[in-house]
């Protein structure tokens, strides 16, 4: 992506976000009581100001994107193996599953799976080490947080650790 494309894209994104907030987001999701004496004290005042400024910055970015010449610096090298996107999706999936599993499986078992899954997603060269770490690191962290720091690490419905 050239700087020009980036600037323009960001600018358009900011403008859309600002418009969305001003017309949909703030009226819909910021509740303001009816007895507000002064507009500057209303809960909606500050979000409106910020949205408007975001919009202005977006316009600025679009303008700046048009002004700067195109091929200034193309330092970004395209990924090597073309599997970047599938891996991103896989990582997002791992994170979503983590959120699902944390209260059900408990933090220790979940993080063991997370460790193993991400290590293999990153195609590590040290597979055995990765598996050993996947078991040991969550256990060590559990021992530390639960028994030294006294944090109630979620235990889940199945196997409880002492």
């Amino acid at each position: 992506m050239s700087p020009q494309v980036i600037q323009t894209r960001l600018g358009i994104g900011a403008c859309i976000a600002a418009a969305f907030l001003i017309f949909v987001g703030i009226p819909g999701w910021v509740s303001s009581p009816s007895n507000v004496q002064n507009i500057v004290l209303a809960p909606t005042f500050w979000p409106y100001v910020l949205s408007a400024m975001t919009g202005l910055i977006g316009l600025g970015l679009i303008l700046a994107g048009r002004r700067t010449g195109g091929a200034a610096s193309d330092e970004e090298v395209v990924e090597t193996d073309g599997l970047g996107w599938p891996r991103l999706v896989a990582l997002a999936l791992i994170m979503a599953l983590t959120m699902y599993a944390l209260p059900r499986l408990g933090m220790v078992w979940t993080t063991m799976l997370v460790f193993a899954a991400t290590a293999f997603l990153f195609r590590t060269r040290h597979r055995v080490t990765a598996l050993i770490c996947a078991v040991l690191i969550p256990l060590a962290l559990y021992a530390f947080f639960a028994h030294v720091a006294g944090v109630g690490i979620p235990q889940g419905n199945f196997v409880r650790l002492p």
């Binding site: 960001l10 999701w29 500050w46 600025g60 983590t98 290590a119 690191i137 969550p138 947080f145």
Partner: protein, 495 residues
Amino acid sequence: MSLFDSLIAGLSLVASFEAFFALFAGICIGVVGGAIPGLSATMAVALTLPFTFSLQPITGILLLLGVYKGGIFGGSIPAILIKTPGTPASSATILDGFPLAEKGEAGRALGMALWASCTADLISNLALILFAGWLASFALSFGPPEFFALILFSLTIIAGVSGESLLRGALSAMLGLLLATVGLDLVYGTNRFTFGDPNMMGGLNFIAVLIGLFAIPEIIAMAWNPTAHLGKARALGKTKVTFADYKRSFKSIVRGSLIGVFLGSIPGIGAAPSAFLSYSEARRKSPNKENFGKGEIEGVAASEAGNNGVAGATLIPLLALGVPGDVITAIIIGAFMIHGLQPGPMMFVLNVDIIYGLFIGLIVSSVFLFIVGSVAIKGFKFVADVPKRILMPAVLVLCIYGVFAVNNNIFDVGVMFVMGWVGYVMMRHHVPAAPFLIAFILGPLLEDNFRQAMLMSGSDPMILLRGPITWFFWALTVITIVAIIRGIARKAPAT
């Protein structure tokens, strides 16, 4: 009682093995606690608090102060090594510390962090001892209008950490300000962007956002291209910080310490803005401005000086006024009260031995910090040698535990993940993350103080210009903005 008598009384109080041992142990606990993301200095202090109940007052308080000081330094270790600030205060250290580690100079960055921390700590403690009374009365003249002007000025540091494009930095800051509006409204208590979820009502957890924004994007980037780091020298390389480095950064360290002392003595701001302000000032004054953000040792020095400079100074409002400056000092005040001590002006009369005992302990703590820190650096440096594709999953797991531990809430882990993707998109579009973070910290302060000022005056905006302090900061703000605009104008014809 003369100063000398007070000193003797204080000395007789701390001159025991337990007192110094408590201080030393506290620093050890703090460094380790601070080095574990999510555990943070705050948690470490809170966890140590119950142990102080059974100790002598001075011993217990020295223990807590040790944890506090150790924690603030400890936070810089993971910030440099794995781009995950152990404590919010060390987020500015990432900006140059992590690039240095990537260049194979983790040892140098860590060493500089320690030297800067100890120097700033010493300056801060001296400021506490010499100027406590004066700075405290100054702090009390800060009402909402003064805060508003100060924070508005602080927001101009965004320009200093925006990197190549000011507009993209401003966009990042706007996103941070907008995200900070989530939660219950300060004045009316109504919901803002909470979608009825009780987890959102408290606002997004700061540490979850922080870790999500800095640490997680690195992990996502690894999924995009797992072999990008190969061929880069990430090992320790030149392991020592040199005296020449220290000398070169000395000005920035002193400046950062003074910024820290100033911001620390005003209750309610905390160490993170101070570190960013110090960093941005160092960059502005430096001859090699361009190198900041790409691994400039002076950047690490300035950030660490900025946040450690706060550590001693937050005790000024605590001891002189009985007012906590941040969460950590709020816990420490609790410890004072449990021992029947009531911090405030009378304490300098009634318990002067304890005050001087603390002063002596604080001075010693800078030395202890240096010793413990040197050992800790040696201990943690191995992290830089761990293969990156094993390290990253470990960081991810560590972040899950750490972020959960901050508020015992699984929801925060989700916030961290989502913010990670936001951070990744920002990274891909060359939008700097630091302005986002600064805005996220300062945004609520800015809004709250603005609205409190409006409540005070019955919505008369003139209150924002009510006294010399406000004029001073308004003037500074205007000067800075003019300087920024001129900087842009000068750069524009060149491109």
